[in-house]
Structure formats: C-alpha cells, structure tokens
C-alpha cells in the first residue's frame, strides 16, 4: 500500500514538472509548482504513516504554511509583472535571455 502512495505522488510530481516546463501562462506555471509541493507533502505523510511517528505530518504542516507564504508573494509579483508588460505570456519576459547586459 505504501508503494501505491509513493507511485501516485511521483506521478503527480512529474505531471507538475511537465507543466512547469511546457506551459506558457504564468498562472498555470505557478499552480504547477504548487502541485509539485503537494506531491512531496503526500510522500511525507505516507512515510509518517509507515513509521508510526508524527514527524512527517509536522513537516507537511510546515510545507503548507510555506506554500501559503510563497503563493502570496508570487501572486503579488505576477500583478507587478503584468503592470510592467501588459502580458501574461512567459515568452515576453526574456530580458535575462537576450544579450543586453
């Protein structure tokens, strides 16, 4: 049964990874990062159940709090980025890629 949970969490992690790599909208990329965080939290919770100790569940609690903080900050940055460029396409934010340094 533990193998089933681990396999599901790994599949969710790699779906999120494929989403971060291939999607073009900023909101979708942000939500795929949250999906990866959730998959890791599921791994921790299943290890806590297998070991019988509460340590994994405390780590999941800290992960959820961290995700809340990161979501608030990331969304504020998205609002500011839209104010700069009026676009939500990740291809338009390529200053680090073009040679203008």
């Amino acid at each position: 049964m533990f193998d089933n949970y681990m396999l599901l969490a790994l599949i969710l992690l790699f779906i999120g990874l494929v989403g971060v790599a291939l999607r073009k909208n900023i909101f979708t990329i942000f939500m795929c990062v949250e999906l990866m965080l959730n998959a890791v939290a599921l791994i921790f919770a299943s290890i806590a159940r297998a070991q019988g100790s509460m340590e994994g569940q405390v780590i999941v609690l800290l992960i959820i709090a961290l995700a809340a903080a990161e979501a608030a900050f990331g969304l504020a940055l998205i609002v500011l980025m839209h104010k700069e460029k009026q676009s939500l396409d990740i291809e338009d934010f390529n200053e680090l890629r073009t040679e203008q340094c």
């Binding site: 049964m1 533990f2 193998d3 089933n4 949970y5 681990m6 396999l7 599901l8 790994l10 599949i11 969710l12 790699f14 779906i15 999120g16 990874l17 494929v18 989403g19 291939l22 999607r23 909208n25 909101f27 979708t28 939500m31 795929c32 949250e34 999906l35 959730n38 599921l42 919770a45 290890i47 806590a48 159940r49 297998a50 070991q51 019988g52 509460m54 340590e55 569940q57 405390v58 999941v60 609690l61 800290l62 959820i64 709090a65 961290l66 995700a67 809340a68 903080a69 990161e70 979501a71 608030a72 900050f73 969304l75 504020a76 940055l77 998205i78 609002v79 500011l80 939500l88 396409d89």
Partner: protein, 168 residues
C-alpha cells in the same frame, strides 16, 4: 474498502492534475487543481492524518487557491494551449518523464516500508501534532512565523510604491 477509496481518490487527483496541465484557460486549470487538492486531502484522511485533512482543505484549497482565482479574475487572460500545434512528436516528451518515474519508483520501492496496523491511539490527532511540533520543531515554527510576517511586509511594500515619473 480502503483500497477502493484509495483508487477513487487517486483517480480524482490524477484527473485534476492532468486537467491543470492540459486545459487552455487558467481558470479551468485552477478549478481542476482545487479538485486535485481536495482528493489529496482525502488521501491524507486515509493515512490517518485527520489534522492534515482539515488544514489542507481550509488553508490550501480554501485560502491559497481562492487568492489565486481572485487575482486571475482581475486580468483579461487569453486562452493559451499547451502546444502551439499538437503533433504526434510531442508524445515523445512523455518517454523521459516515464523513465524518470520508473527509476524513482525502483529506488524508493527498494526500502519496502509497510503500513503497520498497530498505530498509537492518538496518531494524527491535533494534540499529538501540537506536542510534536512544539517539542521538536520549535525553531522551525518560529521561523515560519517570521517568514509570514516578512512576506506580508514585502507584499505591502512592493505593491504600494509611490508614483515615480517614468520617461516614456
């Protein structure tokens, strides 16, 4: 019964995650992701983690995703699809991902952890979680509080800058 429930929740979580990646409008992706989050909360309940089930639904699906949906409503978002033009060649992207999943499953499956039936009586209760958190993770707890305060100050500071005259 537990296996039946596990497969139900797992299928909902998988369909939610696939919907997140494959839908065109970000709002549809957000709703699909909320379905995925509630399914993962159900999986926490199957793992005897009652407090995590509550906290996941209240905080993750009920606050973080609601905030994201609010911000999404402000913008006029055009529909964008995963590929510009879907070709059969794009399916080959799944092959390295599948190989990575297989490798990780082999590595982590070799440990052979099992779910034992004898758990302590209060496993997953909020009292046990609180005791363990404040006994062993006290510094992390305080640091999370500092992090949340810092994020609050940073967000207010960033989004309320005075109007500077820009050279247009």
């Amino acid at each position: 019964m537990e296996v039946f429930l596990f497969y139900n929740f797992a299928l909902f979580a998988l369909f939610g995650a696939l919907g997140l990646v494959l839908f065109k409008l970000p709002l549809h992706s957000a709703l699909s992701f909320i379905l995925c989050l509630v399914s993962v909360a159900g999986l926490y309940l199957l793992l005897n983690a009652k407090t995590l089930f509550l906290i996941q639904i209240v905080v993750y699906a009920g606050a973080i995703m609601v905030l994201a949906v609010f911000i999404m409503m402000f913008f006029n978002i055009k529909a964008s699809s995963l590929f510009v033009k879907f070709r059969i060649l794009h399916l080959f992207y799944l092959v390295p991902a599948g190989i990575l999943v297989w490798i990780c499953a082999e590595i982590f499956g070799a440990k052979r952890l099992e779910f034992s039936a004898n758990l302590s009586e209060n496993f997953g209760e909020i009292k046990e979680l609180g005791f363990y958190l404040f006994s062993n993770f006290g510094v992390s707890f305080e640091m999370i509080s500092v992090l949340l305060t810092a994020v609050l100050i940073a967000v207010v500071g960033i989004t309320s800058s005075k109007k500077e005259s820009k050279n247009v």
